[in-house]
Symmetry: C2
Subunit: 220 residues, 2 copies
Amino acid sequence: MFAAELHASTPLRPGATAPLAVAQPVMQFSEGKSLYEEGDDAACFYRLVSGVVRTCRFSQDGRRHIDAFYMPGDVFGFELTREHGFTAEAVTDCVVIPCRRRGAEELAAQNGTAQDGAAARQLYGYAMQQLARAQAHAQLLGRYGAAQRLAGFLLELSAGKNPPIVELPMSRQDIADYLGLTIETVSRALAQLQKDGVIKLLAARLVEVKNRAALAEICG
Amino acid sequence: MFAAELHASTPLRPGATAPLAVAQPVMQFSEGKSLYEEGDDAACFYRLVSGVVRTCRFSQDGRRHIDAFYMPGDVFGFELTREHGFTAEAVTDCVVIPCRRRGAEELAAQNGTAQDGAAARQLYGYAMQQLARAQAHAQLLGRYGAAQRLAGFLLELSAGKNPPIVELPMSRQDIADYLGLTIETVSRALAQLQKDGVIKLLAARLVEVKNRAALAEICG
DNA sequence: CGAATGGTTGATTGTGATCAATTCCCGTGG
DNA sequence: CCACGGGAATTGATCACAATCAACCATTCG
């Protein structure tokens, strides 16, 4: 569901060299600011150093859809086309390393010349991870109820956490737009999970997972 | 939403050489047969020559989720891991070209040696197309109502068709499992679109798009 | 202390799921 | 050619879950 756990164990510190393409000086964005907008020229992709980023898009009727949340270590914003398909915004203050694309990788499908294969292979791995995440997201939205979606969401966020206490960096509206629900339903589902003893809401944005197995059971 | 239109203009005939990795002799599958199952060793990926294929997965409670439909020319079944993440089944009788993976491409993220870049770049393009499709699918399931989902589905199927008559190769159950609905809702939504004069159901599996603009309008 | 923002809780509505018959279509066999 | 059978699709009635509309509460910030 998330790309979060991938590479999360080895976040780069500011100033470290990115492992592919041309790394640029780090950039900082404060909460709520957009890193790029849907339709912007996709000159760079990014590696997240610290903070949390969301990618989103709006339907014609104005409803927001959040495609993904990115955690430190994640790479995002690479595209096949010339333009970004989503807007990327800082959920919290964050630091990223922009990587200028060489212009060859994204044209891979068209011309089959044999240069610059390493970067393409690197990007292929990232793309496949994103693909698996997006596919799981689609299944969650298509086949699961509100409680199950929340359970799945919390499972991902709490992955590898010990003690199992999750800080939610995003608002209820963000969670709702990611899970295809409303803020009221998110709130009620969380309250229900707490009543069932599966989680405990230490604060609005601080969740203790009391029973991980039950969470996995609910999710399916 | 679909990968259908990509390459659809140049389907390979049986016996033609696949443009990447090691092509194998063509294989045929009859309607309902599975090409591979979730969890099977992903030794091959496939290029669809003729017919239609669906990829699907089941939730714990037995509900089926269809990830994608593939049309002639599409490439599917490539994985980052050693196993297939979905089951692939023949929606109609079909012919595919299996392509044995060299074992290097899928390990791209781990080792960064510079061999075999062309195949990786080729696969990167396919992966990115799939990613865009899966992201659009997630948005459709998360933010759109039944009529809108059907409209989007029909728009994709009718892309580039002239005259705008679409044959639906899959059952109502397949459509429902792809759109996160029930067969009854699919049926009612189609009936409603017909009553609105947007489409005409020439037969259960034959749809004439009367008003493409209205379809796009509904979808958003 | 008061306003503003974000979150929760309650009442009601609406959309799609579920349960239940038919009807349509198509292949098969008389 | 027509009668029959069986699966697929449609249509109808009711139900359930999440959306919506509306207050209310908590926390932060000026």
